[in-house]
């Protein structure tokens, strides 16, 4: 990104030297890299390279969509994986483009910064010999007063208009005024580019030292959550973060309220939690969708909510177990799907041995409002007429193999092989709150009620304020560089034809250093002011 303005040519070209080939190659490559053409090409490459990230599902955004893509395109998916198609913004080719772009940017703005500092410290150059050759020119007009005094007065006026002006004595008894304005344009331009660097650094450090995790937090004192890696449903730590670095806090969902329109569209969500930080006393705090719970070195965001049915299973030996199982909402009306698994049931008290063939699982839907027409989707997201629709399975749940499976569904492989058998028929059994369902073997399932749950994202990014600062400074720089105009004007005051009686011939020239359509008006105004007010 080379400077926009022209540079003054160097005084004398150095004598040709036989350059080292490697050195020449390096130098030429560097020049090529820092040229505007390369920067433009890299910008385009960056834009094009960003597109696949919107076309293919990204693992960092939604791992479940990536899994679905694998199922839908089993041939293509592994190849996309190899090319980084599911992690575009962390892929080496994406990184290489933006790193090259930022290298090009550094290579361009550092010399420009040096030039600009030099320009800020130096005075505007002396007037060219022939002002009439400049893009703007005012022919000489005769004024009263000595040339020196006229020049000083003009310089004073220019300074009042925030020009940087300098007065020089010419060899011919004349005086020249050189003035320049609009340094802020380049200042802003450089500020913008350095701010981009700050943003890049901030994003990088945020990635290294940040972490985030997701957790479904079910209401109730027995369902609390403390910030440790094992308690997250899933989590990602930055490369420089250890599990022991996580801040110490505990959350317990004490209340969750959701209000809805009559159409079922949500109006408000509010989660109330009891928070304990660093072993202190518990405090009650509320937060909502756009207003996260800000803790020390962690922010808790409310992403969603749902219902967790409370189920009590009584096995054939009369032993009961109660489970609270979150069902995940699948539509806007909170039709929810989930599974309850009871692996440690039907244990014969005589032998104390678990029969893997007698494990029990339930799978199905929870409808907060069962529609009048009997369809399988909820009619309203609040619990107006709630019911569970479950299918019971008995057999080997497949939990002992050790492979981690979803807790929201039964192992479909076990069902397919027949290790886990449907024991309740094709139609799911409807179960209202408080009802008991007796299975074919006499065991019972009771639906005791539901508890609300909140889907929480807990995040920490130590450098996001640096990124924000960079973005704001960048915007300020951008506006300065787009609004500013760098321009120079010169006035030449020569002794008038009157000789000793005094009088001055004042001529002027102006040079805009970038495209600036308003310059001629400004120049005319300057000349007029200079001619009017001089003594």
């Amino acid at each position: 990104m080379t400077a926009v303005e022209e540079r003054t040519p160097t005084a004398a070209a150095p004598p040709p030297r036989r350059a080292n080939r490697v050195w020449a190659l390096l130098r030429n490559s560097w020049r090529q890299l820092t040229s505007m053409r390369t920067a433009l090409v890299l910008l385009f490459l960056l834009a094009v390279a960003a597109i696949p990230g919107s076309v293919f599902p990204q693992r960092a955004v939604s791992p479940e969509q990536v899994a679905r893509y694998y199922v839908a395109h089993p041939q293509l998916a592994p190849w996309l994986e190899r090319l980084g198609g599911f992690a575009v913004y962390g892929s080496p080719w994406f990184a290489s483009i933006y790193l090259l772009l930022f290298t090009s940017l550094v290579g361009c703005v550092l010399p420009r910064l040096a030039d600009h500092v030099r320009a800020l410290r130096s005075v505007p150059p002396d007037a060219p010999k022939r002002l009439e050759r400049l893009p703007q020119h005012a022919p000489a007009s005769e004024l009263a007063g000595e040339p020196a005094a006229v020049a000083e007065a003009v310089a004073g006026k220019l300074r009042r208009r925030r020009f940087r002006a300098v007065v020089r004595e010419g060899g011919d008894g004349g005086w020249t005024v050189s003035a320049e304005k609009g340094y802020l344009k380049e200042t802003g331009n450089l500020l913008f580019h350095f701010a981009l660097l700050a943003v890049l650094v901030g994003v990088g450090f945020g990635h290294w030292y940040g972490w985030h995790g997701n957790r479904i937090l079910v209401g109730g004192a027995d369902q609390g959550f403390c910030d440790s890696l094992a308690q997250y449903d899933d989590s990602t730590l930055g490369p420089r973060v250890q599990a022991s670095d996580l801040p110490d806090f505990c959350l317990q969902l004490t209340d969750f309220t959701a209000t809805y329109q009559t159409t079922g569209q949500p109006k408000t969500f509010e989660a109330t939690v009891a928070v304990t930080e660093n072993g202190g006393a518990a405090t009650t705090r509320s937060f909502t969708v756009n207003d996260p719970l800000r803790l020390h070195h962690a922010n808790v965001h409310l992403l969603g909510h749902g219902y967790a049915p409370v189920l009590r299973y009584t096995d054939r030996y009369g032993v009961s177990q109660t489970k609270i199982v979150p069902f995940l909402p699948v539509d806007a009306m909170q039709t929810s799907e989930g599974a309850a698994q009871f692996p440690d049931v039907n244990i014969d008290p005589k032998t104390d041995r678990r029969d893997p063939q007698l494990q029990v699982g339930f799978e199905g839907r929870y409808l907060p409002t069962v529609p009048a027409d009997g369809s399988a989707s909820s009619a309203f997201p609040a619990e107006n007429a709630p019911a569970l629709f479950l299918t019971a399975y008995r057999g080997d749940l497949g939990l002992d193999v050790g492979t981690p499976g979803s807790v929201y569904a039964l192992d479909q492989g076990q069902i397919a092989t027949g290790a886990l058998k449907n024991v309740s028929g094709a139609r799911p059994h409807e179960l209202k709150v408080g009802e008991t369902w007796t299975l074919d073997d006499g065991t019972k399932l009771e639906f005791l009620g539901t508890r609300p749950f909140a889907t929480l994202a807990i995040r920490y990014d130590p450098t996001q304020s640096l990124v924000l600062l960079g973005a704001v400074l960048g915007l300020i720089g951008l506006m300065l560089s787009l609004a500013g105009h760098r321009r120079r004007v010169w006035f030449r005051a020569l002794p008038g034809p009157g000789g000793d009686r005094g009088g001055t011939l004042l001529s002027a020239g102006g040079l805009p250093r970038a495209d600036y359509p308003g310059f001629s008006d400004e120049f005319q105004a300057l000349v007029k002011a200079a001619e009017e007010g001089t003594p």
Partner: protein, 329 residues
């Protein structure tokens, strides 16, 4: 109130349609081939379309840019004035449709794709009316501006119509007003900025002697330099707005709402792409070695990415910005 908004929306489209017809009339019968000169010079020099300029036209006063002159030019001139009149009428109806929609929903009317496009086209229309009132010289382009408005609003009403409703909780934030309004404003200006950009390409092609179809339009449009400068000014104005709306206000809200300031959601990806492309345009424009034609093509590419973000992302991809979807949540 919601029904009133829908009726006003229909009348808005009708008014723009009439304005478009009148602009087309001026375009066809008018005599503004060298319109750019008329703008740069206070006294209008009349150039008959192959016909001798009537004598009485010489007596046209200095501020005659807007005065009908001579019977032969009258039709086109009046068509143009009527067009601007209907354009302004359409703009007022448009404002009415937006305002009643906002009153009906008791919030800012920016909650879904239908309302978003209604607002963005309103900004576009307002910017266009502002430009045309300050610079009558570019009035010819009204045909293209109103064509764009009618097409966008028509598509909006047919594809994206959503009944009035309150906002989902995710939009309960003051950032909703800040983020969405600046983006609507910036997109509106970018969208209108594409009109002088494409006309500049047509005109400069015409000036180079190209006489194939799109370039033949160049006969009737303002001077290339005027168009190019207008293009740059619009983009230079909209770019910082877009930067603020998409890359500062958006991430600030995203941080509060989703916990991260940037997450490569499809809408974010395309905003990023648009930003990069428009940044490339500004760089190319300010580099003397890059031809203005090339720079302007980049601006049009930016326009294409904006359209992609407006329609394509909402219709093809699902993401966190999906409450902007056709049909609401």
């Amino acid at each position: 109130m919601a029904g009133l908004s829908n009726n006003l929306m229909a009348f808005t489209v009708l008014a723009y349609l009439v304005a478009m017809v009148c602009y087309a009339g001026e375009y066809a019968f008018g005599d503004r081939g060298r319109i750019g000169k008329a703008a740069s010079r206070p006294a209008r020099q009349l150039v008959g379309a192959g016909a001798p300029v009537p004598d009485d036209a010489a007596a046209v006063p200095d501020d005659a840019v807007e005065t009908p002159a001579g019977p032969r030019n009258g039709a086109g001139e009046w068509a143009g004035r009527i067009a601007v009149g209907f354009n302004v009428l359409g703009l007022l109806l448009h404002l009415g449709a937006l305002a009643t929609r906002g009153i009906a929903a008791d919030r800012m009317p920016w909650g879904n794709m239908y309302e978003y496009i209604l607002s963005a086209t309103f900004v576009g229309s307002a910017v266009w009316v502002g430009v045309v009132l300050r610079r009558p010289a570019v009035r010819h382009l009204g045909l293209f501006a109103t064509l764009g408005l009618v097409v966008l609003l028509g598509a909006d009403g047919m594809v994206a119509y959503t009944p009035v409703g309150p906002l989902v909780p995710a939009l309960h934030s003051y950032w909703f007003v800040i983020h969405v309004s600046t983006i609507i404003l910036a997109s509106g200006i970018f969208l209108v900025g594409a009109v002088p950009a494409s006309m500049f390409l047509v005109r400069s092609g015409y000036d180079q002697g190209k006489r194939r179809f799109p370039y033949t339009l160049g006969k009737h449009v303002p001077e290339a330099v005027t168009l190019e400068r207008l293009t740059f000014r619009m983009h230079a104005f909209a770019f910082p707005l877009f930067t603020f709306g998409a890359l500062i206000a958006g991430p600030l809200w995203a941080e509060a709402s989703w916990g991260r300031y940037w997450g490569w959601d499809p809408k974010e990806v395309w905003a990023f792409i648009s930003w990069i492309v428009y940044a490339a345009y500004l760089h190319a424009r300010s580099t003397p070695s890059v031809k203005r034609n090339v720079a302007t093509w980049i601006a049009l590419l930016g326009f294409a990415t904006m359209l992609m973000n407006l329609f394509g992302v909402n219709l093809f991809f699902s993401g966190l910005h999906s409450y902007a979807n056709a049909g609401g949540m």
